[in-house]
Symmetry: C2
Subunit: 309 residues, 2 copies
């Protein structure tokens, strides 16, 4: 089936065509903005979950386990998508192969769709393409969309926090709570997971995080700190319960409105970045040469380029 | 002295006023684009060095050592700047404190200026502000500008590779060469450093990287792979030599022109991102509400917002 048919009737989706569509969107191909815009208008029904954290903390293993939880929670055969952000990051160590193996738990399960986002070098980059991929999957009627970051920079954290619920995964013994607070984790986490909790340092890490979370301004939701041993599945049910509790809280408190607004604003920002990226790439070599010769400057040229859009 | 005086005569710079100016530029304050534009026109004389690599590989230690090399190479008292990108990244572990201690090697040395860039959450973010900070320091007449990434995501790698020479630091035993190639390291590295080379795995890591670098398309420069033990200063002189060799190669081959063009284009892209960022932040709550209600979509709104600029 072709892509226009697919957008017109997402229920007809086959995953291969869906994959092609997502590639067009990720590449910002001609017409792809119209496609994702149409899907956006059909969406708004998915629950989105961002998972970020320290390298080697076991994010992928946890996500794979959470997919099992989500499948159990959806006996109606609703579909689950996992969006792995930037698997070609230079800094994943051996994670890429490991991810494939772990997500292999779900290969052959037609309810589960896995997608990688890795458009290095585009202006806007992950911040532009990840919300578009999520919006498209939402428009297709996926019930659960999990956004897992593999790379660990600013952009990756930003996309993980632009979800309904954000899970931050750290290893037991990773740094201390003060470090975690300085790092901005306390601000983005709705659920904290202390993985590898079979280590001796786990209790202290959990306690430190809890006391840090109790300090600070009053808030309507205090992130629970959940110890896990993701490789054995220990604690995964508790993480899923915490996620469900957070969703209930969002709905009952009305915080869901502010959260949806923040997600919409992040998606808009990505769309703006994508819109100007083609302009930036198309700047003529003569203009670049003028920059090199310092007969003009990037800020003056940027103003002209944006104004000409 | 005030900031206008400082821009008019950078030689009068005092570091406190310079620091204030860089903060204005990083924040994208009113008028700051004019200031950095003026500095850009005065610049083009600095050698820039990007340093990126795996977490915990010892980047900061190496950079501190390379500052000593640069000081020796500039007996004329030319000034050296270190720009540490995103020290508030959530994923630095204990690096922040360590950086301060190590860069403390140079505190009290008036030749050395240290600056952190950490504007989380801005549209454009590091990709917008780091090139502006580098352009400003260049305009001030700094002879050497080292850009060290602390965070390890896509944006951080992009800013480190938008320099005349890019050094990639990995730990001995970190992954294998295939992994490194998949990660895109081979494309951005002008000099490879295998740190912690006192480990048994170091020789194999060096050999693997070298053989990977020998495969692939013909290129005018083959990145040398330099083993170091940065904490003891072992191999640092060889890294500095490799950097100098790369600079000589750029000049003699004429590759410097393409490199300057790429740096100019990256700076322009950042300037464009910065220009649209205020627009995105200023989008009215009513428009965001329309997104949440799905009566419009982010791509249509983005087109309207950019067109109205």
């Amino acid at each position: 089936m072709n892509i226009d048919d697919l957008v017109a009737d997402p229920s007809m989706s086959d995953d291969r065509t869906l994959g092609r569509l997502l590639s067009l969107i990720e590449d910002g191909a001609d017409g792809s903005h119209g496609l994702v815009a149409q899907l956006y208008l059909q969406g708004g029904t998915a629950s989105t979950l961002g998972v970020t954290g320290t390298p080697g903390a076991g994010k992928s293993t946890l996500v794979s386990q959470l997919v099992f939880s989500a499948l159990e929670a959806h006996p109606d055969h609703a579909r689950i998508a996992v969006v792995a952000v930037d698997p070609t990051s230079p800094f994943t160590g051996g994670a890429i192969l490991g991810d494939r193996i772990r997500m292999g738990d779900h290969s052959g399960n037609v309810q589960v769709f896995m997608r990688s986002v890795a458009n290095r070098g585009h202006l806007g980059g992950l911040a532009a393409s990840t919300p578009a991929i999520v919006a498209a999957l939402d428009g297709f009627g996926f019930a659960e969309i999990m956004v897992e970051t593999v790379g660990v920079g600013q952009a990756e954290v930003d996309v993980a926090s632009a979800c309904h619920t954000t899970v931050v995964v750290v290893s037991a013994g990773w740094g201390d709570a003060v470090q975690s607070a300085k790092a901005g984790f306390l601000e983005i986490a709705d659920v904290y997971v202390v993985n590898k909790a079979d280590r001796q340092t786990a209790d202290q890490t959990v306690a430190d995080l809890q006391s840090m979370l109790e300090i600070g301004p009053e808030r309507s939701w205090t992130p629970p700190v959940v110890p896990t041993v993701a490789t054995d599945g220990v604690g995964v049910a508790a993480v899923w319960d915490a996620i469900k509790n957070h969703r209930t809280h969002l709905a009952q408190s009305g915080d869901i409105n502010a959260r949806n607004g923040a997600i919409a604003r992040a998606t808009l920002k990505g769309a703006i970045e994508a819109r100007v990226s083609s302009v930036a790439d198309a700047v003529a070599d003569e203009d670049i040469e003028r920059l090199v010769l310092r007969t003009t400057d990037p800020w003056t040229l940027a103003a002209a380029v944006v104004a000409a859009r």
